[in-house]
Symmetry: C3
């Protein structure tokens, strides 16, 4: 099943790729690696939720936001590569969760992004990951997620 068919099966329609928030590009290729810029959970250019997880957002709400960053990553990938079947896998996800000092489940937040990527790309979609807490993010976003994918030659 192609990644696009898998998305259809999951009932996910990719939105237009979010634009960069400054002097950078959404994705940059080097060899077979495609480095995506840090992605915020923007929907139609707006954050749906703001602030720190464990204070302003629950774990479940943060997981919804993490899934949105993964959907945005897929939009950027599709805009870059034209076709998700050119993607041979996901190498690494690094997720920064705006966190109340007492919040210690950043890894559970990120699972929602990791799960979607693995569902869409299958075994090659399984990736290394780091999940961190931070005290502040651009636009008061609850999280920001970076992705490294691997592309065909």
């Amino acid at each position: 099943m192609s990644p696009e068919d898998k998305l259809k099966e999951l009932g996910i329609e990719l939105p237009p790729a979010p634009k960069a928030l400054g002097s950078y590009v959404p994705a940059r290729k080097a060899g077979n690696l495609l480095f995506l810029s840090g992605i915020l959970p923007l929907v139609d250019g707006e954050l749906r939720r703001e602030g720190a997880v464990g204070r302003d957002l629950t774990l479940e709400e943060a997981q919804e936001e993490a899934k949105i960053t993964a959907i945005n990553a897929l939009s950027i990938l599709q805009a870059y590569a034209g076709d998700l079947s050119k993607v041979t896998g996901c190498v690494k996800i690094t997720g920064y969760v705006a966190s109340a000092p007492s919040f210690t489940e950043q890894h559970k937040v990120l699972d929602a992004a990791s799960d979607l990527i693995a569902e869409v790309f299958g075994e090659p979609g399984r990736h290394a990951r780091a999940a961190l807490g931070v005290n502040a993010l651009p636009l008061y976003a609850p999280l920001e997620v970076e992705f490294i994918f691997e592309l065909k030659d």
Copy 2:
């Protein structure tokens, strides 16, 4: 001297590789690069110390924890590659230290991880590095460390 002999000389016995804490893999290869997931200083699946450096841990205690993350990285490497002599070097270490706002010696904490990696692999074990402070980490861990290694073809 092989990395395994060097470890024996240092009196270090590698523990079983720590398991992933969610929907990701401990290590993912892309080309000759091996990206390791963020590693916590778990010993037998448990943190020995929790909290922020400069408040709950001293610099010296944090350095002990950093050394444990490097040992865990070597365990993951060995489990992945079968044999540490397949590793041609360490490319990059990124260390996130849970920090009291007044703690500013994250680089000294990370030296304990960097030193061990360089001792085990010699000159090719010397790497680029970033050392950062953060306000929160998974499981209330005092630090989390990412590694990128280089493998033979």
Copy 3:
């Protein structure tokens, strides 16, 4: 126009490359990628400003510091490669801004580094980027910035 000529046109003279603050190297090559260590805005080995943006530094002051990290990155590149024309582009910048919890313009801080890199290398200097806030950094620095460049074979 060569990167060196571009720097001259911009009135920028590269300082000596800053030294590592511990057991790591300023730059490490793997394949065609050159990973630079996290760079602080040191001038002659000293920070000009300390503390958190949004509390101790304004956005404009932080942008000046971000530009200094980019200049330091170019110094490290030149020391490593001998000649900036051996650099085929910039792949990724990750910037960690020491932030008051209410500061949410980390991306605007980093633009000052991104703009300089793009001016010096032209279109191949345009890169992926992540901009994060953190609560603490080595030496009480206001920011730390990592770069991945691409080199000729």
